[in-house]
Amino acid sequence: MNWTLVLPELVLALAGLAALVAGVLPKRDTSFAINMGVFGAMLLAAVLVMAQPEGTAFAGQYVSDAFTRFMKLLVLAGAALGLLVAMDWNVKEGLAKFEFPLLLLFSSLGMMVMVSANDLIALYLGLELLSLSLYVIAAFNRDSERSAEAGLKYFILGSLASGLLLYGASLIYGFAGSTNFDRIADAVSATEGVPFGLVVGLVFVLAALAFKVSAVPFHMWTPDVYEGAPTPVTAFFASAPKVAAIALLTRVAAGPFGELVEQWQQVLILASLGSMILGALAAIGQKNIKRLMAYSSIGHIGYALMGLAVGSDLGIRGLLLYMAIYLFTNVGAFAVLVAMRRNGRALEGIDDLAGLGRTDPAMALAMTVFMLSMAGIPPLAGFFGKLYVFLAAVYGGYWTLAVVGVLTSAVSAYYYLRVIKVMYFDAGEALDARPTSLSVVLAGTGLFTVFFFAFPAPFLAAAQAAVAALVG
């Protein structure tokens, strides 16, 4: 049974239940204490993840190795940062309910189950635990029509994706006779040729996961949901869940279906090309900065998928680094969006950033760093993320991917630079003073983005170990 292996998940689940009791029973408002408690539980889970031994538990349904450790730390970091970003906003918008940190906690638990999944059922249940929490927090501002619409839209399309996933999983089970990834891998290697039904099942599963990471052509929900959901919720959507879904995609592609690389490669190459091109072109005309970030995140997923699509160890290492860098840069950029507030009203237009270079030079500088990093300007972190992915594509001989990647990077630099131009060269009024929690997040992610080039070694080593554990 080996149930002690799941200690991080267990601690997080028990902390969630305790926080639920602490929120419901007292008559007073305990949301701040629960925010802090959930934050502490996430940190504790991260420490436990670092100390987690390797192995499988529950008859192979749960796996722990260097790959799951790397991804879980990223997921927990993203969730904890998302909570920090949201705290002040929720108070100002009158949304400071204790359920918010609780739902973030359960969604991170779902992500950890996803990352550790070594079984189709565990994969599905983790994904559902994550998705259900996300549907609710998308509609968390329930009195706002847009937020409710975002939640409903995400729910309907997400259920469709879950249905596709289940259908694909049933086809895979029908072929292999087992839902365990190791048994599926055995079955695939024991069969001559490529069974057609298995490929159809795999494509269904990939389509559902592509929906979760919002890769083209399953991206339609992204701009609307990102725009409608409360800004800190959007910040969370764009960070931790994407990392978890990418981890799952990588595990499924490289683990049980590692021998079918030629089959899933085509799907991923198309999704990668489509995402890069759409992310670069569709973001150009946007006036709402949340929509801009939505298209930008679609583009980034395109670059990240390139690493998986080339189907080499080097590519997966690039993908892991890309997701790590993307996570921190993205949370930082969203922290700026959350701080955009004038006379107590939240703002979402790109034009509302005008004059930030004079009225709040520190935040303008941080935003400049994040935008340049996303555009891939050296020596910021985003450049290295793209560098490793493009290198893998070039080494693998996938010139189309590399060339399209470079071209779309150049195009997307236009709208990132436009944000910087608006901040420094347009005139505008001052924003409200930013809260301390956002300043902390901005400083932390900003320093990471700027100084990544000075100490990439630990990240590279961790990613290398993760790839070795995954590919074996």
Binding site: L20, F58, F106, A122, L171, G177, A190
Partner: protein, 233 residues
């Protein structure tokens, strides 16, 4: 032979009632057909040897879920004809997509290929003749798949939290509620006094209001005018 015949009969009724669930005009009929579909599915489970699932399907789905459905359909005022308005417009494209998917599935299942050891790996309804369905399921759910069972429980918990967060509203601040402690502790409601023995109320300064005059019993011989006045004199 009889099992095969029973299978086709139940399967045919199942599919027919499933079609009727979607197409019948009256939503109450839809739910009733749904119940029929559940019963036939339970019969199919019985034929497959999964008697526990068959009974659970009847108890849970027919006994609880479908009845709840029925209540909801009867209580909510849903205009089903308006919901079906888009059907005509979207039917062709839906039919095209459905047709393509159906052809693909035919293609998939026509060339279906099993992994060599799929048959041995696949779960049986009962692991052996001496183990009952219930025992086998209990072993699977609470021992082999306890991890997944717990995660499923957390999903239900999140669903509950979500439903409460999105719909529960506290009553408005000016609504009146009973607060027994406050009501009893009201200063003007209770007066504590230490009366000397045999003292009347008047000596204590407590003035008793005269009791309101009891309405006179209606006399039989009252005229019409008085009848309308109702006790005012």
């Amino acid at each position: 032979m009889i099992a095969a015949l029973a299978f086709y009969v139940f399967a045919a009724i199942l599919i027919a009632s499933a079609v009727m669930v979607v197409t019948s005009r009256n939503p109450v009929h839809s739910v009733l057909f749904l119940i029929l579909a559940f019963f036939n599915a339970a019969a199919l489970f019985l034929i497959a040897g999964a008697e526990f699932l068959a009974m659970i399907l009847v108890i849970v789905y027919v006994g609880a879920v479908a009845v709840l459905f029925l209540f909801i359909v009867m209580m909510l005022d849903i205009d089903f004809s308006r919901m079906r308005e888009g059907l005509q417009r979207y039917a062709p494209i839906g039919a095209v997509i459905g047709g393509i998917l159906f052809l693909e599935l035919l293609f998939v299942f026509g060339s279906w290929q099993f992994a060599p050891d799929a048959a041995t790996l696949r779960l049986n309804a009962t692991p052996g003749p001496e183990v009952t369905n219930t025992e086998a399921l209990g072993q699977l759910i609470y021992t082999d798949y306890i991890y997944l069972f717990q995660v499923a429980g957390l999903i239900l918990l999140v669903a509950m939290i979500g439903a409460i967060v999105l719909t529960l509203r506290d009553k408005p601040a000016n609504s009146k509620r009973q607060d027994i402690g406050v009501q009893v502790a009201r200063a003007e409601a209770v007066k504590l006094a230490n009366p000397p023995s045999r003292a009347g109320l008047g000596q204590l300064g407590i003035i008793r209001r005269p009791l309101p005059e009891a309405p006179k019993p209606k006399a039989v011989g009252h005229d019409h005018h008085d009848h309308h006045g109702g006790g005012h004199h």
